[in-house]
Subunit: 312 residues, 2 copies
């Protein structure tokens, strides 16, 4: 199976307490598609400027990512400059230059229009709908968003959510979107708007997934983040998570509760690799054996035995 | 098996966004011992004033808690007044009156001195050692502490930690104690000071446990908090966690890695019940069936299937 992703491809300049990187490949669709490429065929929809480096095109190609939807426009590629302190959950934006991304109007190549899985990266909710209107009844649509769209484009976002199966956001975004501090209640509220699965990213604290099971009850799955001794650069962690999560769903062709749980773990694994180096440094060089090894470590790290009442 | 706990017994006045309670039973040793009483025999060492209510003594007795170590001094019981906003992780202290607790000098009744398990609540590290010096070689010593002792009594605390097997603290305390933002590195550092097991409480994000396995490698266990729709009052959650955790260890008489993991889950279960009502309102009325039911729910909430590489 295959997945379409729409989002940003960018150059980032990043400073963390552990080093700095100048004008390295980044962007939500970049992290997503390289992470997903370990599991499934990916069609990328994005735009870059004519400053975009051939070596970066080659990085996508070497991961089998289909670039028919990657448009090159006259001008510069989206540029983001940011900085992190020791609290790596908190990015400080120093400079944003939208450049060619300012006029991005996603056009879906004919070859992509029947892709069964769709991931709408964090862009204008109106553009997210523009993507969906060009697709032929995808099986599953997942979507990201952020505070900017929640605050300023709420009704447009709600319009998009009507067509979304899985919403993937962080905990602050969940609370802001639902206007509800309690995540369980927030999930119930968001489910009335369209999505039937809510994935809440909580950074170093891991991920929670909420969905309504066939019996109508709320099912909760909680997974920790993979504990690392050296987190180097958190940029792209959320998008790598989404890439691993949706990549596994598309690759396995399964959306049953068991597969969704495994997908969460693969997402966590991809995010954990991503933060070990700047840019795509770690994500680009992985083997599938490394990925499954970390999957098993997360399994070992979370399992516990049944309790038998005669034990005490 | 049985466990000795030393700590505070107090009256609390608490305000949360959901209500208020005046002069209700509280204190670290109170929450700990009632939570632990569902799993094991508990010997309580604390002091109260002569204003201490007979009904509160009866609450301890009705849970089979041994009160030979509960001294009544002339004066008033320790009083704490606090307030929480919608961020229930953040308590604001409005008033603290140590009262008789100011001169607390723990004396261990002869009948307690051979208790195999010991929990040193969050008191002066010097007093924690005073407790241990009166015990006859306990099998396992666990200890809590807080920023006040880390900042102002660091060398005394380190002296205590030499005799401690399990340190149970929250994530901010872990980082502050080890002077290290990364929890994995913090655990390794703390292990050089005495403890061989570190339990890091992370409030709504759950718990992480670190210990060195027989092969010398670092073992990590991560468990989520039980997700509640209505958190009423977080006071005592950490102590209820410790009570469930240590209570299960003492009750089962096991400290192998499998039992430690189950103990973490029972701790999480007791904390989750505790926050559902003010004071001991929920903790005092539990059935063991309710406890094991929530244990199973946490198991269901965290399990995921093995991955077979032919799945994608």
């Amino acid at each position: 199976m295959s997945i379409l992703v729409v989002g940003s491809v960018a150059y980032d300049s990043i400073k963390t307490p552990f080093g700095a990187a100048e004008r390295v490949l980044g962007g939500s669709a970049t992290y997503f598609s390289v992470a997903a490429s370990y599991f499934t065929r990916v069609g990328l929809v994005a735009c870059v400027g004519n400053d975009f480096d051939a070596a970066d095109v080659e990085l996508f190609r070497s991961h089998g990512i289909d670039l028919k939807g990657l448009e090159t426009h006259s001008g510069k590629t989206f540029f983001w400059q940011g900085e992190y302190g020791y609290d790596l959950n908190d990015a400080r934006t120093l400079n944003t230059q939208l450049n060619v991304f300012a006029d991005f109007s996603p056009r879906i190549p004919a070859a992509y229009q029947r892709m069964p899985y769709v991931f709408l990266g964090n862009i204008d909710p109106g553009l997210q709908r523009q993507v969906l209107s060009q697709m032929e009844r995808p099986e599953l649509v997942a979507c990201d968003t952020m505070n900017y769209w929640i605050e300023g484009h709420f009704s447009s976002l709600q319009e998009t959510l009507k067509q979304v199966d899985i919403l993937i956001v962080n905990d602050a975004e969940t609370r802001q979107l639902a206007q509800e501090p309690n995540l369980v209640k927030a999930a119930r509220k968001i489910f009335t708007w369209g999505p039937r699965i809510l994935v809440v990213k909580r950074g170093e604290y891991g991920v929670m997934m909420f969905h309504t099971n066939p019996a109508g009850a709320l099912d909760v799955f909680a997974a920790p983040a993979y504990p690392l001794e050296d987190v180097f650069d958190p940029t792209g962690a959320g998008d790598s998570f989404a890439g691993g999560f949706m990549g596994f769903i598309a690759g396995s062709g399964r959306t049953d509760p068991e597969a969704l749980r495994q997908a969460i773990i693969f997402g966590s694994v991809m995010a954990s690799f991503n933060v070990e180096k700047f840019s795509l440094g770690r994500l680009r060089e992985l083997t599938f054996t490394e990925i499954t090894e970390r999957f098993r470590q997360l399994q070992e790290m979370t399992r516990f035995e049944d309790f038998h009442p005669n034990a005490i």
